[in-house]
Amino acid sequence: MHWLLIIPIGMPLLVPLYNRIDPKIAGIPFFYWYQMATALVAIVVMTFLYQVTKDRD
């Protein structure tokens, strides 16, 4: 299951993909809201992983 962590580790490293202005959300360029969205994704993935694996440890 821990392979899921590739998502929060990989997403912030895709610099060429998110280095862009459009589309904007609430006036915030893509570059900025994408990275903030990554933080939310990281929380969701890790919380999911913890809930699923906690009984096995």
Partner: protein, 567 residues
């Protein structure tokens, strides 16, 4: 009599800071165990007993320091997108910590370590390696503490207080509370700090919403970046800036796993589940940091300028004053006072945790290892107490002695140095394959290469003129290797690549000839040990032949420590 805005700001600030100091002083009694607190497990890692909430606040308090809240908006204000690197860096730290922090917590719990140098020593069976890891950690931590004090200095400047005395008074008060209460003081204060911080972030977001929103802030910033001649600034990265951004993220994330202070907060957690839950929630801080970073753009659109600036004459002024100046300009005075208190405490907490970590490194890997092998737990705690004082005021002296324009580069330098212990302390968690001698040679080569590259990095003005000849930045141009590109790479990461190359090649050679292979003194089961694990006690009985290490917070009160098996 009506108080001026300025007096209200200073008043609120001083009152809040006074309350915090008293709380820190009382922290010695907080969650105090029945036995004595005069040993390093209690003073240095809070008795390894912090639960979910305290761990969460302490981790946030020691990793997201005032430096991030002051320097990151200053960065985005000055050059735009590049300054945002702190956010992806903070995010990827969490999943990596989720994967590996439990291992270092378990082995430290099982073996009684309070620092990563003790782990490196035992994992590779080399006191010398432990010594080098400890020295690198201490040398890198001192300038990192200075960086925290830079933020505090910028704050006092905005408040209009002249001279160095307020800095020294604030540091002195915090030092006394830490001296008395150990890690409990910054832990308790980080809870108070985060309450203030939530207030600051919420009111900042509210202010932005009421004065035009983010759209206007970004549009006006884009217009200003277009006017400057520098190709490096802008709302997104330039074509040559992407590689530098990527390596800055990776290099900074790695340095977090090498700095001693992040580990101290991890080791203070009470069990493995606490660590996992906390690392899972850690990116919430990254969101707060992102909002703070975007305030740099808001400052541009609101026409806030740093203290001492004179753009007509081309003088930038002190960029670090941007965050406090912004609060001063846009918040009501009492609210600005709260924000200042939050920044000040956010500077003092990491400084305290870092000083504790550096002191623990000295006590465990230098003092007990080389000076007084039979030091009692009480003596260890006392040595750490005094060393932490020395470290803090050493950092203050460093800050006051050097050229102020130089101070922001201290953090880059510290990061590039500390990351060189990654092969020993981080890869060591996964495998003991590396050879101890190879690790030492690689680390020295990496440290040398880092220093060489940073020394030869000049700081350029927007027009390409050399402003500062040495230590002017942390990114190394690849063109110096004869590559036809304008891209740059984080110098610490380049040196780390060299470090790894040397470690791997030398390890293969030394292992081929079976020369001086060190004995791994940890047990595979140590890496899974949990609190209240019956396995722990059983293992100790089984491993009777090995020197018995004290383990667990409450196992070592006043009995003398058995010497290690190295001499």
């Amino acid at each position: 009599m009506k108080l001026s805005n300025h007096q209200v700001e200073v008043g609120v600030f001083v009152v809040l800071l006074g309350i915090m100091t008293l709380a820190g002083f009382a922290a010695a009694r907080w969650r105090r165990p029945a036995g004595s607190i005069h040993n390093l497990e209690e003073w240095g890692v809070g008795g390894r007993a912090f639960g979910n909430w305290v761990t969460w606040f302490l981790l946030g308090g020691s990793m997201y320091s005032a430096y991030t809240f002051v320097a990151v908006p200053a960065y985005t204000y000055g050059i735009g997108a590049v300054g945002f690197f702190a956010i992806p860096f903070a995010i990827i730290c969490a999943p990596i910590a989720y994967l590996f922090s439990c291992r270092i917590w378990s082995v430290s719990h099982a073996r009684g370590y309070v620092t990563n140098a003790e782990f490196a020593r035992d994992r590779y069976g080399s006191r010398t390696l432990g010594l080098f890891v400890a020295l690198t950690g201490i040398v890198a931590t001192v300038p990192y503490i200075s960086v925290q004090l830079v933020s505090l200095q910028a704050l006092f400047k905005t408040l209009g207080v002249q001279g160095d005395w307020p800095l020294l008074v604030a540091l002195g008060l915090m030092s006394i509370t830490t001296f008395r209460s150990g890690l409990r003081a910054p832990a308790l204060l980080s809870i108070a700090k985060d309450v203030l911080l939530v207030w600051v972030v919420l009111s900042a977001v509210l202010v932005v919403a009421m004065s035009g929103g983010w759209g206007a802030a970004f549009d006006l910033s884009a217009a200003r970046f277009k006017l400057t001649p520098s190709p490096a600034d802008g709302l997104i990265l330039g074509a040559d800036g992407q590689l530098g951004y990527l390596t800055l993220i990776i290099g900074s994330a790695l340095s977090i796993f090498a700095y001693p202070h992040a580990l101290t907060a991890i080791l203070a957690a009470k069990d493995r589940a606490t660590i996992k839950r906390n690392t899972a929630a850690l990116p919430i801080y990254a969101l707060a940091l992102a909002l703070m970073a975007m305030l740099g753009f808001f400052a541009i659109s609101e026409g806030v300028v740093p203290l001492g600036s004179n753009f007509a004459k081309g003088v930038t002024g002190d960029l670090n004053t941007i965050t406090p100046e912004l609060f001063h300009a846009l918040f009501p005075a009492w609210s600005a006072g709260i924000a200042y208190a939050a920044i000040a405490v956010a500077a003092l907490i990491p400084a305290a945790v870092m000083a504790i970590s550096a002191a623990n490194l000295f006590t465990r890997s230098i003092y007990r290892e080389y000076i007084r092998p039979n030091a009692s737990p009480r003596e260890e705690a006392n040595v750490s107490r005094w060393t932490s004082l020395l470290v803090k005021f050493g950092a203050a002296a460093l800050l006051l002695l050097i050229n102020p324009g130089f101070s922001t580069e201290l953090q880059l330098l510290a990061g590039a140095l500390v990351v060189q212990i990654i092969p020993a302390v981080f890869i060591g968690l996964i495998s003991p394959w590396f050879h101890r001698w190879a690790l030492i040679v690689g680390m020295l080569a990496g440290l040398g290469a880092s220093l060489y590259m940073l020394y030869n990095t000049p700081q350029l003005s927007a027009t390409g003129k050399v402003v500062v000849a040495h230590f002017g930045g942390s990114n190394w141009p690849l063109s110096k290797f004869g590559l036809d590109t304008h891209s740059t790479v984080y110098a610490g990461l380049l040196a780390l690549v060299l470090n790894f190359a040397i470690v791997i090649v030398l390890t293969m050679v030394l292992r081929l000839f079976s020369l001086g292979v060190g004995a791994d003194r940890t047990h595979p089961d140590d890496y899974y040990a949990d609190a209240d694990d019956p396995l722990l006690e059983r293992l100790d009985d089984l491993l009777d032949g090995l020197p018995r290490q004290p383990h667990g917070a409450h196992e070592r009160h006043e009995e003398p420590v058995a010497p290690h098996g190295y001499r």
